[in-house]
């Protein structure tokens, strides 16, 4: 009993602080041109990759909106888990007066959706996932970009380098092997490495690829280990779909080349990293927040590509890239923009030795298998047309999955 009294007194002491401190309760801003936006991140800026890329988008969009007379008050929360802490973070952001809440990681969505009905006036956005747009609610949204376009171009850059090495006799044609560090054997990743591979193959026909899954979106050590193991298995080019820069440094330490994701990695690995591709979130943040302030609907399922500036290439590392790369990149970019190049052109790859003629895009009955909307037509698989999140899951020939456990 003594203990309880003691604890109660301690609590009262603490609450004394609360009243003495005079800190005020947070609420939504009163000014109609000021909007309070929550950004919930899986990592923090120090990853120099995925979350850093969101922070970059956040800051760019803030500047763009300021030019339009819109002030954004950001509430950014870092290192949120893909678990119930995400539910709590959404509640927290909503209670702290955020009018729009952006969830930046794929695995956040189910936990975010637990909260949305409690706050019908708040707009919830789940980046890179796919359930919010189709759940019949007005206040839940999805967004992604056609990152496969950027990966295709990064693949072209890698392929040109490999072809240069073949032509110079550094490697035999069959030694043009790419090692790919993937997070999970998941549609977004499969779509990404397949487009990358097809980009490389378009300029280096003998290329093959090995994919190693690390079982985490962000695990700097595991990503590095996977990259080193791939290099040791004879891969001369490393690329990645994971959040850190360690695959770049691993590639450099083994004397092989690298192309990155999310951020320019040429300063970290100047002798290895050729180019990176990244999503530029600024156009989306700008569009969504502006729509909100103007009283318009935020798009339910936003997806734009390179032509709209939503996917960008980082500066090419001219010192080590193959000659003529910049010209070729410009040519492919133009081709993608006018539609003359299709990334998933079904005449350029085979699945089990046969051409891909059929694949569904959407899962409508919730059993996690796509069952509607034919994605293969007009001689190509059409990615991110029926929903923003990628749905290409075929295992094409020439790509070896080293471990599909993840």
């Amino acid at each position: 009993m003594r203990k309880i009294t003691f604890v109660l007194v301690a609590l009262m002491l603490l609450s004394g602080f609360a009243f003495a401190s005079g800190s005020t309760e947070e609420a939504a801003p009163a000014d109609p041109n000021t909007v309070k936006v929550g950004l919930l991140c899986i990592g923090d800026e120090n990853d120099q990759g995925y979350t850093y890329n969101f922070i970059r988008g956040r800051d760019e969009a803030t500047e763009m909106l300021k030019a339009d007379g819109i002030n954004v008050e950001w509430v950014t929360k870092f290192n949120i888990g893909e678990d119930a802490t995400c539910t709590d973070a959404n509640i927290e952001a909503a209670e702290e007066g955020c009018q729009i809440i952006i969830n930046n990681s794929y695995g956040f969505e189910p936990f975010m959706l637990e909260v949305v009905d409690e706050y019908p006036d708040i707009e919830f956005i789940s980046c890179t996932n796919c359930a919010s747009a189709f759940d019949g609610r007005d206040n839940t949204h999805n967004a992604f970009a056609n990152i496969y376009e950027g990966r295709y171009i990064a693949g072209v850059v890698a392929g040109l380098k490999l072809q240069q090495m073949i032509d110079e006799g550094t490697i035999a044609p069959e030694e043009a092997v790419i090692g790919y560090v993937g997070a999970y054997s998941f549609a977004e990743v499969i779509s990404g490495f397949t487009s990358y591979f097809l980009g490389a193959k378009s300029v280096c026909p003998s290329v093959t690829m090995k994919v190693s899954f690390v079982g985490s979106w962000s695990d700097a050590t595991a990503e590095s280990d996977a990259a080193l193991a791939l290099a040791d298995q004879g891969c001369v080019m490393i690329s990645q779909h994971s959040d850190n820069t360690t695959p770049a440094t691993a590639a450099q330490s083994r004397g092989v080349f690298h192309t990155g994701y999310n951020n320019d990695m040429t300063t970290i690995a100047p002798e290895a990293s050729l180019i990176s591709t990244r999503i530029d979130w600024a156009p989306y943040f700008y569009e969504a927040i502006k729509a909100y302030v103007n009283g318009e609907e935020i798009p339910q399922d936003w997806c734009k590509g390179m032509a709209d500036g939503a996917v960008v290439m980082t500066p090419l590392n001219e010192a080590i890239a193959a000659p003529g790369t910049a010209e070729k990149v410009a040519e492919v970019e133009a081709g993608l923009a006018d539609g003359s190049i299709q990334v998933f052109d079904t005449s350029t790859f085979t699945v089990g030795g046969e051409e891909l003629t059929h694949a569904f895009a959407l899962d409508t009955d919730g059993d996690f298998t796509a069952d509607s909307e034919e994605a293969v037509y007009d001689g190509a698989f059409h990615e991110s047309v029926f929903q923003s999140a990628p749905y290409f899951t075929a295992q094409i020939d020439g790509i070896e999955w080293l471990n599909a456990a993840y």
Binding site: I4, L8, V9, A10, L11, A18, S21, S23, I91
Partner: protein
């Protein structure tokens, strides 16, 4: 060598009964010192400590929803502290509550995923409750059996069992129970597998409060509780009194694991609505602190678990409002726990300096 030169500079002496007022004073002083020390990391990161403490209290107690969130954090802490108390009373160092929670959660999740369609709501919850208790209890019984039979080290054994349990969930997450392929996410529970809410918080709070009374009576008013206390004081005395020590160890561990399992059930069915490898989220370890600070008193655990919940929830708001890194909040929690635990030390022991002792001897 004379006895005098061998006397160390500082010696620890077990205190006899201390005046209540003095005990109270030491405890208040420990909190005040903790609050002052907690200012250091805040000042280092450029945060005003007074407003930071204010935000912690506001963020955890100033609105109904925040109080609900705080209680939600306290429920598993309290439940799990109740679970490990009998083991600690017995001086059986069960640090495997993390794994026992996880296994309880696994059992509950199995029924939530595969029986939700075919079984009515209340029956389903009852099944989940019972199987979670059984799974947690059996998981705890394994190290207890080895301890009773071969006197293995229970600390290491229970600790290792945690990682096995977490590994099992990681496998389920990426394997048989995975939702969308490659996502590593087990689907969310249907409504029928979710605990109903009472006063805005899942009804687990009623279960743990009931457990508080049950455990208090069990530990203080029953023969089994007495047996546990005797073994804790002296295993040989227990043997001499004719108690079957091995059996009591196994029985107590089963009860402990079963309560942890129930905590696991409450976490998945009341708070998370799905299963993932971090389901126990350190509760199994934090609750050791709760149990210890409460000196294994069930009622004191309510207050201690609430304090820790207030800090955790408040720290979250601290991060939201003042952009204080979450790790700073962890440091403050650590300082607070350290000070509170060391106050117990000064209540039980006094420091005797050599010189003072000499004077005392002369006098």
């Amino acid at each position: 060598m004379s006895a005098e030169t061998r006397t160390p500079l500082i010696r620890l002496v077990k205190r006899t009964e201390m005046a209540k007022g003095k005990v109270f004073g030491i405890r208040v002083a420990s909190i005040v010192i903790a609050l002052i020390l907690g200012c250091i990391p805040m000042l280092l990161t450029g945060t005003d400590p007074i407003s930071a403490y204010g935000v912690i209290i506001q963020g955890s107690l100033s609105r109904p929803i925040y109080i609900k969130q705080t209680v939600k954090i306290a429920i598993p802490l309290l439940g799990c502290a109740l679970a490990i108390a009998p083991c600690f009373k017995m001086r059986f160092w069960n640090i495997g509550a993390e794994g026992q929670i996880t296994m309880g959660a696994v059992a509950a999740t199995y029924f939530a995923l595969f029986w939700a369609e075919s079984v009515p709501h209340v029956v389903l919850l009852a099944i989940m409750f019972i199987t979670a208790a059984a799974a947690g209890g059996l998981w705890a019984l394994i190290p207890a059996f080895f301890k009773a039979r071969w006197n293995t080290n229970e600390t290491l054994f229970t600790l290792m069992m945690n990682y096995i349990a977490i590994g099992i969930v990681a496998w389920l997450q990426g394997g048989p129970w995975e939702g969308r392929k490659g996502s590593q996410l087990i689907p969310m529970f249907q409504d029928s597998a979710r605990l109903p809410t009472v006063l805005g918080v899942h009804c687990g709070w009623i279960i743990v409060l009931a457990l508080v009374f049950i455990m208090y009576i069990y530990m203080n008013r029953t023969k089994q509780g007495y047996e546990i206390a005797v073994i804790g004081d002296s295993v040989n005395t227990a043997r001499y009194a004719g108690m079957n020590v091995g059996w009591i160890i196994m029985r107590t561990m089963f009860i402990s694991g079963a309560i942890s399992g129930i905590v696991g059930f409450m976490i998945v069915s009341g708070a998370n609505f799905t299963l993932y490898s971090g389901v126990a989220d350190g509760v199994g370890f934090t609750s050791i602190t709760v149990a210890w600070l409460s000196q294994l008193n069930s009622f004191a655990m309510i207050a201690v678990s609430m304090i820790l919940a207030v800090i955790e929830k408040g720290a979250n708001t601290l991060q939201t409002r003042l952009s204080v890194p979450a790790s700073i909040a962890d440091i403050i929690t650590g300082i607070l726990l350290f000070c509170m635990l060391s106050s117990e030390f000064f209540i039980n022991y006094s420091l005797v300096f050599r010189r003072r002792e000499k004077k005392e001897a002369e006098a």
